[in-house]
Symmetry: C2
Subunit: 280 residues, 2 copies
Amino acid sequence: MRQLLLGLSMGLGIVITQFSMAQSFRLVDQSELLYLHLDSGLVVVELNGIYAPNTVARIKALAGAGFYNGKMFYRVIDGFVAQGGANDEAPDPNYPPLPMEAKRMVAPTDAITLVPSPDLFAAFTGFKHGFAVGLDADKKRSWLLHCPGSLGMSRANEPDSATTDFYIVIGQAPRYLDGIMTVFGRVIWGMDKVQQIIRADVTGSGIIAADKPQTKIRWAAVGAALPKTQQLALMVEETQGKLFEEKLIDRLERPQAFFYEKPPRVLDVCQIPLRVKLAN
Amino acid sequence: MRQLLLGLSMGLGIVITQFSMAQSFRLVDQSELLYLHLDSGLVVVELNGIYAPNTVARIKALAGAGFYNGKMFYRVIDGFVAQGGANDEAPDPNYPPLPMEAKRMVAPTDAITLVPSPDLFAAFTGFKHGFAVGLDADKKRSWLLHCPGSLGMSRANEPDSATTDFYIVIGQAPRYLDGIMTVFGRVIWGMDKVQQIIRADVTGSGIIAADKPQTKIRWAAVGAALPKTQQLALMVEETQGKLFEEKLIDRLERPQAFFYEKPPRVLDVCQIPLRVKLAN
């Protein structure tokens, strides 16, 4: 028994097995990284200028201008989102409302690794360079998904109303928001720090009361604007190619002895962990 | 614009709308509550002796004997689970392996509020007194689901091998574990404290290295064993009845103006927030 408990099969042995599979990695360019230094620690976001070019340009401009420095996460609902930015300040005329960038046309040359599973919200799901995406092959449209760690732009009721504030998904994927919000990035480092963002009182509306503590963004910056010594050389798991396809099949088939009954052959695109590491 | 930002439609206005709907609540008996006082703060778990009677009896015995006091969360994977307990200590002969309690027979009198949506892992999903459940109506079996905040028993490869250690789901629902693990409770208070449990290094296996800090369970106790002054009178949203059914329909139909395009008529059973409040 003791041996069993110490061995691979200890507790939930699954993840250990999964993480021992081979992976390929790619280094993310510093110009595509947004560093958010929160009260709780450092968070690094990979931006996606392919799916959300105008929004990513805006985010880079805001970070470059120091806009987010000192701003708060003012609406934080455990299991849902942490929303930060200017809150109820008067809108800044420098940052007019952005067009919605929810869905983009895909070209025949667009490579998306499809998840071999049905999905209830999209005709297909898959990954494009580490980002979870939906795909409507008939309409040739693809969009970034709301998975844990996804960043999207807050907006009013009108689609083209986002300006400066954003949210980070901190709970079960709110997939019902897919396609009607501009998703523009994903947390690749410091998700534990995101999970430490101070929540609103669960008995309230989600807005943190003015007299209660809020988590501050001490500073935000694009990686390329930081001194080399402050940059993290982050390698993210490559989701194109044979190694990742094998990982998906492994998760679908669950050959490990731990699965004494095999689960349904279903993969939740938001429940496939992607590895990240520091280059040496 | 400023008014819009301050009004109901500010940011993601959805949750505010949802939370303004009427709800009914039930007071949870202190004998069905497990208090876990972590380094990060107080967490309260509602136990489910209907689905997992032997396991809940074991958990109550362990808590009553002070077994968990001083134990650590030693395997903590962001986005997956926080696992705590005895870790690699020699098995305690007082606590022999438990039978798997994954699926139970349902009787014709069992009331389950069905979620009006397809699901990929179960023929039906629903709620039974606040717990998310799966249902196979043909085989008359029901089981507790792995949603964020669910507690399950760690085990080795053999189904009947759980003894003392448990995990809390802290990320996207690992539904592939449904039916092959004993789920026995759900966090109803302090999920923000659970999210502050110290994670393992993301580049490792999930086990926290011996020389790194771990989050401790300072003490664990069943509510009924605590002095009245330490008990929390927790009211949980009642998932049987018309009010909750109306909430499900509202989430399915998304009548709010915020949804300028309506999402697919799909509800993820693990993405339906349930309210909790303190009785006065």
